[in-house]
Amino acid sequence: MANVLPEVANVYWRPRVTDGSLRRVGRLWTLSSVAHALPFVAGAVALGLAAPIMLPFAALCLAHAWAIPELYAARGARSVKPRSASGAEPEQVALGLLGDLVDHVPRELYAQTGLMIERGRLGVWLLGEAGALLLRPGGRRVNCYCVKATGAGLPPSDRVAHLLLALRTDESGFATVANLAFSGARWRVRRRLTAPARKALDAAARLA
């Protein structure tokens, strides 16, 4: 393969990510969420039918069933934590380079949200300092990844530029190297994002 991300060699045990493997992983995440929630829902129904006095416990079971996928989604949303506020000179220099790498629309969105949008073959990506969101085609499912540039002291926009260039080099390799933190419904992740990140997610969903 001409353009393989060299970092893929560091995760040699992982099969390369493809569109098909992402679909399978998405189904597995859904199945896992159902498997976590279903026993609590069944328990709630059983308790509710058993006696009216058990209704508060049934409600607790339902709350558990709701909370488990929410916790996973919250973990996924944390992968694109807000950009650290920095007006320092290195950040301004890094911002200039990052701006040169993209067109006007992604540049504007980045200025407003701290997330860089990039369309790929696997979907539409949103890149943060230490993570990425992948909106799958159709925009209903979001994959949340933890991935970052190595090395301390890099300005925030430099970290985003590192991810952007790695993604452009080899999208499948990028998704292989990154650690998947969550895969699930967009609405579930959206609720856990900051307002600027929600705006970026909506923009990505329109493109996906």
Binding site: N3, E89, V93, D103, V147, T150, L154, H162, T169
Partner: protein, 74 residues
């Protein structure tokens, strides 16, 4: 004028500038390029949205060559 840029703590640093007509500047750029690769940097040329090319030798005809640190899953 072509540029070799390293993304680092300062935002970015221009390590070398060269033109194909000037063998001395090109030679210096190639030397700087190899040094950075030995330090663990990866080099690439961005071709706009969705495309960047990983390079192991300095492409003298490229306008900008960027050096980046490796990435890793967090």
């Amino acid at each position: 004028m072509s540029r070799l840029i390293r993304m680092d703590q300062t935002g970015h640093t221009t390590l070398a500038e060269w033109t194909v007509d000037d063998p001395v500047s090109a030679e210096a750029a190639v030397a700087a390029f190899r040094t950075e690769l030995e330090q663990g940097y990866y080099a690439l040329v961005s071709h706009g949205e969705g495309q960047a090319e990983q390079v192991r030798e300095l492409p003298l005809d490229a306008s900008v060559v960027i050096l980046r640190r490796p990435i890793a899953g967090g």
